[in-house]
Symmetry: C2
Subunit: 362 residues, 2 copies
């Protein structure tokens, strides 16, 4: 057990934006609210999966919605504890531990807000090891755990409890409620016992985000030294260096969907690249050649600072380094690929691990 | 207190289709399910508002969704009791009495299904005195009563509990859930105490529907004698006799919206009429002249049988009698007109009572 302070939040926010693979919402806003919550309520205790007791009630707390809306609609601490309070009421027992459902983007920080306000410990683990756009895209779903009951809250005082028949129905019902609530909402899904979480969650991911954020912060301006350390830590690859030449995104069905075009610079001069995204980056291509695809991670980093750029912050003319990392092994199983592989998102090619794709290119 | 038998259901279904003003779903399906429920579980006790005790828990049970979907997706008794069971769980007490939320269409019958299965008495009252398309269009809303908690269920095993901040948010959240559940869902909203219901509900409307249905059934084929008796009972007006020349409806935002064109026949020969609807008929016009508008009731009846025709059953070439009735006085208050008047539905004219509009025409 250790405590998360404001410095840790700075690093987690930055590292989580890398693991957010362009989505998960801009952590800048979540960082401000999380730091404010810690100043107000005191530091948050971070516990590891090993420290979790079998019969403790563990609840993921997150924000749902399109990142481009979250920018406009700053989440408040009240929203997050409203969903948590409703869950305690529904289950008739107190929550023991909160956790992030995903380590990517703003949702790595929202449970810190809830933990601070409720005085609860935070679990150093998540259920994606990255960010994904849909609610059933969690290791808990792969392991056959039930999302029900799901509680939701908005800033207008509305709360909702869903009892979906499975993870896919949870996503469908929660998504339309989120859209109707104005495009973003706070949500607690997959409240589980400690023993279930121990078997299914991806361990140590808040610490990992903090470490990556630390590399980038400590090596800022040092000729991409931060990026190199990060690639080493995550066993990742530099895909290309490029300039953004075109960027298109629109809000469809509660998601930010679109694509970005890139023109290579430095060693990649004369080559063209594309990234497709649905909240998160899904596919990076050079012409028709796949460089990396979901569930492996794609991150777009500022060439100068090495800091990650979320899909909705990508701007024409920006000079970037695009990197890729292998996803957690749970996503490379049959059910994992069915749930988050390229076919699920409507692409007609099969998933191949980024390591394999990169080996071919050499 | 008296018992509802199969014959009463036949009559209620017919009368409720008149009061449904074209919407509320085709009661034919509800009639079949309600009769089956009574055969299976025994007759349902019908109690009047006077017989209600102040501290009894009264729960409206209804189906939500576009009528054109309800035709395809036959509701089951399981769905209705699922919403009711969830409400009992949420409130931590047993329901004492069920009631229709609206007397129009299929929703006059759905509480019979739930009452039979649960062995509960049914209240001879509703919260509209007709059918309306949206959930906040109830006398309970006019009287400042809260819809929360709202329970919903579908045939796939999903249940949802909403805690909306008011009646309008209840409609918004329940509507998107209904659409996502496939276009129709069962819902329990505005669970209230007996004393609240006594002050706010419209009394005797199931008996009224049964009476109107009786007029039509008993006088079938007797040269519109049934229609005349109905007009007398409801203090209504015959607007015109006509042939349907055009009918357009589409599913928009979970509603069946559209309009029908009519060419006058008999005394109305040479004249043209229009009816606009959103699930229910909203406005009847001759050219630009308003004949009747919401919240007053407009019903389209088969010329030969006098039986009502719902919006989704209107067919090119059908010969019809179009009639109108004054709504309950609660709808003619300032808040009533704001909630269900022509302006709410996007029309740019002010509501005038059908009695007034008809007086001018003479």
């Amino acid at each position: 057990m250790r405590y998360i302070d404001e410095e840790a939040i700075e690093k987690i926010a930055l590292g989580a934006a890398v693991l957010g693979t362009g989505g998960g919402g801009d952590p800048y806003i979540g960082k401000l609210v999380a730091k404010e919550a810690i100043r107000k309520y005191g530091p948050v205790a971070l516990i590891s999966l090993d420290e979790l007791e079998d019969d403790q009630l563990v609840v993921p707390v997150s924000g749902m919605g399109a990142p481009s809306v979250t920018i406009e609609k700053i989440p408040s601490e009240i929203e997050f504890t409203a969903a948590l309070d409703k869950l305690e009421e529904v289950l008739g027992r107190k929550v023991d531990v909160v956790m992030p459902i995903e380590i990517g983007g703003i949702n790595s920080l929202t449970p810190i807000i809830a933990a601070a306000k409720k005085g609860l410990p935070l679990l150093d683990a998540d259920a994606m090891g990255r960010a994904f756009p849909e609610a059933q895209m969690v290791t808990f779903h792969l392991d056959g755990l039930e999302p029900s009951p799901v509680t939701m809250a908005d800033e207008k005082g509305n709360t909702v409890v869903l009892y979906p028949s499975d993870g896919v129905w949870s996503e469908r019902l929660a998504r339309v409620i989120t859209i109707e609530m104005g495009g973003s909402a706070s949500i607690c899904d997959y409240s589980l016992l400690g023993k279930e979480v121990k078997q299914s969650a991806i361990p140590g991911t808040l610490t990992l985000a903090e470490k990556i954020g630390g590399f980038l912060l400590d090596n800022k301006g040092k000729e991409q030294q931060g990026i190199r350390k990060m690639l080493e830590e995550l066993k990742g690859y530099q895909l290309f260096e490029a300039k953004i030449t075109d960027i298109e995104h629109r809000l469809v069905g509660g998601f930010t969907r679109g694509s970005a075009q890139f023109e290579g610079i430095n060693q990649a001069q004369g080559r063209s690249f594309t990234i497709h995204f649905q909240n998160e980056h899904l596919v990076a291509k050079e012409g028709e050649h796949i460089l990396c695809s979901t569930p492996d991670l794609i991150a777009v980093l500022d060439e100068e600072t090495g800091f990650p750029i979320t899909t909705e912050r990508m701007k024409y003319g920006a000079r970037v380094v695009v990197v890729a990392f292998p996803c957690h092994d749970k996503w490379r199983t049959k059910k994992g690929i069915e749930t988050v592989g390229p076919n699920y998102f409507g692409y007609d090619f099969d998933y191949r691990p980024v390591e394999e794709l990169q080996k071919e290119r050499r």
